[in-house]
Each structure stands twice: as C-alpha cells, then as structure tokens.
C-alpha cells in the first residue's frame, strides 16, 4: 500500500495537474458565486476541456471545481438572497437574514469552514466506503447492477423536491433519449430514422452542455435576475466567531456530515437534496426551530446544511468509482468522461489502479484544504463577483457551449444535439420539470436495460432470480424504502414534532 501511496504522490506532482486544479478552483469559485449558474453547468462547460487532459487531472479538475462551486454558492445567497447553486438554497433565507443583521462574516465563515470540514469528512467516508463496497461489488452480477441502477432512478425522482409526477416524466424523457441508437440485444437501430450519426445514440457531452449550459443561458436572458449589489461582507473577526459557533454547534456539524455522506452515496441523490434533508432534520430537532428562516435568521441550519452539501459531493464518488453508477449529476457527467478516457469504473479499478484511486482521494483532501484560502479571497472579492454584467457573460457562456459541443467529435452534428437539448431543457424548466432526472435517465438507462436483458437472457427469463439472490433482494428492499420515503417523512416529522413539544 505504501508503494501505491508513493506512486499517487508522484502522480500529483504533475504540472498539468497543478495548473488544472488551480484553474478549475478559480473557475468553480467564479461560476458558483454567480446566481443562476449551477455547479452542473460548470461541470458541463469544463468537460470539453478536461476531455483533452489525462484521466487524473481531468478528475482532479472536476473534483476541485465542484468543491469550490458548492461553497461559492453561499456568497450570493448571503448577500442578495439568491443561491449561487441549488445546494445553498436550503439555508439561503437564514444566511441572508443573518447577513443583513450584520453577521455576514460569521455566515460565510461558517459556510467556508463547514464546507471544508464537510468535504474532508466526505472524502474520508469515500475512502472507507469505497474499499468496503468494492469487496462486495466483486460479487455483483448483472442482477445486482440492475437493482443499483433502478435504485438510482428511484432516488432521483422520489427524494427530489417538488412534483414526483413531473420528476418521473423528466426521468422517462432521459430514459427514452438513452434508447436512441443500436440496441443491446439485436443491434437494431432504434429511433434513428435513417440517420447514421445517431447510431451511437445521443452524444453525451454535447447533450449535457446543451441541457445545462444552453438552457441556463436561455433561462437567464428571458428571466434576468438582478445581479448588481452594493452589499459587502466585513470579514473582520470572522474566524474567531466561526470557531466559537462551530464549537457550540459541533453536533450539527457531525449530523450534517452524516446525512450528507449517506445521501451522497445513494445513487441519484446529491448535494442539494442533502442540504434540504439536513435543514429539515435540524429544524425538527432544534429548540430554536422557530427562529429559522425568520426575523434575524439562525446560524444552526447553516452549520449543518452547509457541511452536508460538501460531504455529499465527496461520497457521491463512492458508487461512481466502485460501480460506475453516478451518485449525483456531477458524477453522472464525470462517468461519461471516464468512459471516453478508457477508465472503467468498477471493482477492478481497485485491483488494477489503486494508485489512481489514492490520488483521487488526495485530490479531494487537497481541494478542500485549498478551499480555505481561496474561498476567503472569494469572500473578500464577493462584491466584485456579483457585479459581472449578465449581458456580456451570457454570450460568452454560449460561445463556450458551442465550441465545447463541437470539440468532442469535431462535428457540427454535436452542436445540433446541444441546441436541441438546450431548448428541451429550457422548455422543461419553464414547465416546472426538474432536469437532474433527465441526466440520470440518460446515464442509467443503458445500465438498467443492458443488465436486465443480460440477466433474463442468461437465465432464459427466470425472473425469480431478481428477488432471490441475497444482494439483489437487499437492493430491492432499499429501493422500496426509497419509494416509501415521502410517506416515511410525514410519519417521522409528526413523531419528532410530538417529541420536542
């Protein structure tokens, strides 16, 4: 193991990687701090560039960028009550009210340190859980992979906020898009209508760039949100206050990390859901619950939810690396990149390339440590960040969308795909449909179908094996639990409320 660790360190000492990490850190802070631009957008735009990097710097950029972006989303939510990324949405109200009663430094300090702690805790969970899961995963056959993929699909719809019906339809759209192309059983061309370019299916990266990039641009130009702000954060004395608060609410830090890691590991559920669940859990078990989101706001939910989203980010890599099943939309995009680079996620990765994995773990820790100084600078410069004019920024992002889509395959067709998915994404969002299930449908669809077909063909349509194999049965029960989650939530909330009265 020491040998692998040593190798991992050498891999990290690479100039390309260092430049990539620093560049994506700044990029992540920038995009995260601008309301309306999400971390998934940032990933989609970054991917065409990481496409040209070797696997480790590519993963490192995405890891660093997302860690920074998830923290940076706290800045506009505190200053102008607009979350920079959905992951900060849960505690925006409290952050904003606290800032306006003069406690802005504390809010962002807690956000910063909480995020760093969350990220490192998540990374530790990642290291431990990945190893454990890899052992189990060696026993996985097509039956088990089928259930994990179904679990991911279920989680992305059920645990998401808002209408489950719309989430399901969004998922079905994604699943449909994944069926375009040659099918697994007979090699029959489905829904290609004679086009040869579509034989391989919808090109994944241009689709992502369109779904999250172009649609975001369209959203921004049709419904412009105010960005100019004269609010400023006074960071004087920030760290002392932060330390006191974190010490006082250390239990919330712990619970936030636990919830974050647990939800992150669940395929299909990521940082913003973790933050909401953490917020709700804190509210249901706090003496000061009545102060949350009202009056001057309260720091407690900021502590827990703020660390939740960062730890969820890291633990989302557990199913991603071990099973090739994405833990959230960012890792869903990452998997697409890994496949193209010939890095096959799966338990074999742990046997064949342990040093790569150790390097990834170290990048996580590094990125979250880097978050402290860079995030602090971002807080100082936050006033500037929020004043970037939209009418210049949006066309620039559009340019990157076009070039990014083109660069993958040097094909104009990819730009068409990007455009089509962009319009689709905009229409869906306008209608109140969530976009994340679409991505998960596109990524998990083939996994569900292939494994199902392999399983039934192998056993000549013996469907009982889906329920009798021990690991399959466990995963099936887990899926049922996730399906029952909304009902469980109601019951749990009622129980806890009676408890704290």
């Amino acid at each position: 193991m020491l040998n692998d660790l040593g190798q991992a360190l050498t891999m990290l000492a690479d100039t390309t990687l260092i430049i990539a990490v620093l560049g994506s850190a700044i990029y992540g802070l920038f995009i995260g701090a601008i309301p309306g631009l999400s971390a998934t957008l940032a990933t989609a735009l970054l991917v065409p560039i990481t496409f040209f990097l070797p696997p480790l710097p590519a993963i490192a950029s995405i890891v660093t960028m997302s860690a920074m972006a998830i923290f940076a989303g706290d800045v506009p939510s505190a200053l102008v009550r607009m979350p920079g990324t959905p992951a900060s949405a849960a505690y925006t109200e409290d952050a904003y009210r606290l800032t306006h009663s003069g406690k802005g430094g504390l809010v962002l300090g807690v956000g910063l340190v909480g995020s760093a702690i969350g990220g490192i805790a998540g990374a530790l969970v990642l290291m431990a859980a990945a190893r454990l899961l890899a052992e189990v995963a060696l026993l996985f056959t097509s039956f088990e992979y089928f259930w994990v993929a179904v679990l991911g699909l279920t989680a992305s719809v059920v645990i998401s906020r808002g209408s489950q019906v719309k989430g399901s339809i969004a998922l079905l759209i994604g699943l449909f898009l994944s069926t375009i192309g040659l099918d697994i059983t007979l090699g029959y061309a489905r829904f290609t209508f004679g086009s040869t370019v579509l034989l391989q299916g919808i090109s994944f990266i241009p689709a992502m760039v369109g779904l999250f990039g172009l649609s975001e641009v369209l959203r921004n130009v049709t419904d412009p949100r105010a960005s100019a702000s004269s609010a400023r954060i006074d960071p004087y004395g920030m760290f002392a206050e932060t330390r006191k608060t974190l010490r006082r609410y250390w239990r919330r830090v712990v619970s936030g990390n636990v919830i974050g890691s647990a939800i992150g590991i669940l395929p299909g559920a990521g940082g913003d859901i973790a933050a909401w669940v953490s917020y709700a859990a804190t509210k249901n078990t706090s003496k000061d619950a009545h102060k949350f989101g009202k009056g001057e706001g309260h720091i407690e939910p900021v502590v827990s939810a703020g660390s939740s989203n960062n730890s969820a980010l890291a633990s989302a890599y557990v199913p991603t690396l071990v099973l090739g099943i994405p833990g959230d939309t960012i890792t869903a995009i990452l998997i697409g990149v890994l496949f193209v680079k010939g890095v096959q996620p799966g338990p074999e990765l742990f046997e064949q390339q342990p040093s790569l994995l150790y390097a990834v773990y170290m990048v996580f820790i590094l990125a979250n440590l880097l978050l402290l100084p860079l995030g602090y600078l971002a807080i100082r410069g936050s006033g500037m960040l929020l004043r970037v004019p939209r009418n210049v920024l949006m066309p620039i992002i559009l340019a990157f969308c076009i070039v990014g889509a083109f660069a993958i395959n040097n094909g104009t067709f990819q730009i068409v795909v990007m455009l089509a998915l962009g319009i689709l994404g905009y229409a869906l969002d306008r209608g109140g449909f969530p976009l994340a299930p679409v991505v998960l449908g596109i990524v998990l669809g083939p996994i569900v179908e292939q494994n199902f077909m392999q399983s039934v063909i192998k056993t000549n349509w013996d469907l009982t094996q889906f329920f009798t194999r021990p690991i399959s049965a466990t995963l099936m029960v887990l899926t049922m639990l996730v399906l029952a989650y909304p009902f469980l939530q109601h019951g749990l909330r009622r129980l806890l409320r009676h408890g704290t009265r």
Partner: protein, 181 residues
C-alpha cells in the same frame, strides 16, 4: 371545470401523446428468436409509463379537488417549493408564479440566442470560426444591452481566448474560412 395549471395540462397531454407515439412505433421492432421482447421492451415500458404519468399530470392540472393534501410530495411544508433533484446541479424553480411570465423582450432574447447557434452552424464552416464568433457575440451582447464598443471589445477578447485555448492548446480544428482563421 377549468384547469388551474394550463402549463401542466399541456405538459401532461404532450407526455401522453409522445408515449403513445413511442408505443405505436416500437411495434415495428423485431422480437428475439423465441418470441420474447427484445429491442421493443424498454422503450415500450417507457412509452406506457409516459402515458400513465401524463394522464396523472393532466388530471392534476385541474386543481387539488377533494384531497388537497393527499400527495405526499417531499417536503411539502418546507419553504419555496422548488422543483429540483440531484446534486448542486440545476436550477431551482423559483415558485410557481414567475414561471408564467411571458416577457416579450425575454422571448426575443431567447430567439436571438437560438438564432445565433443556428447561424453559427450554417455559417462558421463557410467564413471561419473567428469572424463568425466575433460578429455573433458582438451582436448578441449588443442585443442584450451592452454598449456597442464594450460588446465589440468583449467579443474580440472572448474569441481570441477561445481560439488560443481550443485551437492552439487543445488542437481542436475549429472551422477555418477563406482567410484561414
């Protein structure tokens, strides 16, 4: 009885229509030797479910009805009922009301963006990446409200940056026009 949420009704009906189209189309797919469903199975299920959920959505769009609190949609009592899922990854639906805004200027902007992409697809191979991008970016920025000088400046800088990063560093063959740029 009028629909409360017309957008939902439209979405639901679209889903039903699309699902039906898929179901009809997959009947043309071949079956596995032995008569078992092959390529048609998965899309068929998707189509059927689209019809089901589309119907549910359409029916729901007529308003809450008798059981207003019936659907245990997660978490019903939290603030801003946003429609998101997944990671820190996509946009929050900023409550039902602002969605209905059909701002004329906004729609023209959206059309401009789409038009710009189409224009790029048609023109870039002919006159080259650099001229196409500079012109499109400049026009878009100006349309969105930037002062003309700033627009041209920003357009040139952006195009230069992209050209350096993608063409020179990443060696992506951006289309070259008659001037070779």
């Amino acid at each position: 009885m009028r629909p409360v949420a017309k957008g939902d009704l439209a979405g639901g009906l679209l889903s039903v229509a699309f699902g039906s189209a898929v179901l009809v189309h997959v009947r043309t797919f071949p079956q596995l030797p032995g008569g078992q469903p092959g390529p048609a199975l998965f899309p068929g299920i998707i189509g059927a479910l689209m019809i089901v959920f589309g119907l549910v959505l359409s029916v729901r769009s007529f308003g809450p009805g008798k059981n207003a609190a019936a659907e245990p949609s997660v978490p019903a009592t939290d603030p801003a009922p946003a429609a998101t899922a997944g990671d820190g990854g996509e946009d929050t639906d900023q409550a039902a009301a602002p969605k209905a805004r059909t701002n004329r200027a906004g729609l023209v902007n959206a059309a401009a963006i789409v038009g710009a992409v189409i224009a790029y697809i048609l023109v870039a191979d002919v006159i080259g990446f650099v001229p196409t991008m500079v012109v499109l970016l400049g026009l878009l920025m100006w349309r969105l409200g930037t002062r003309p000088l700033t627009a041209i400046g920003a357009a040139v800088i952006t195009t230069a940056f992209i050209t350096v990063v993608f063409r020179l560093v990443l060696l992506v063959p951006l289309p070259q026009g008659p001037l070779g740029i």
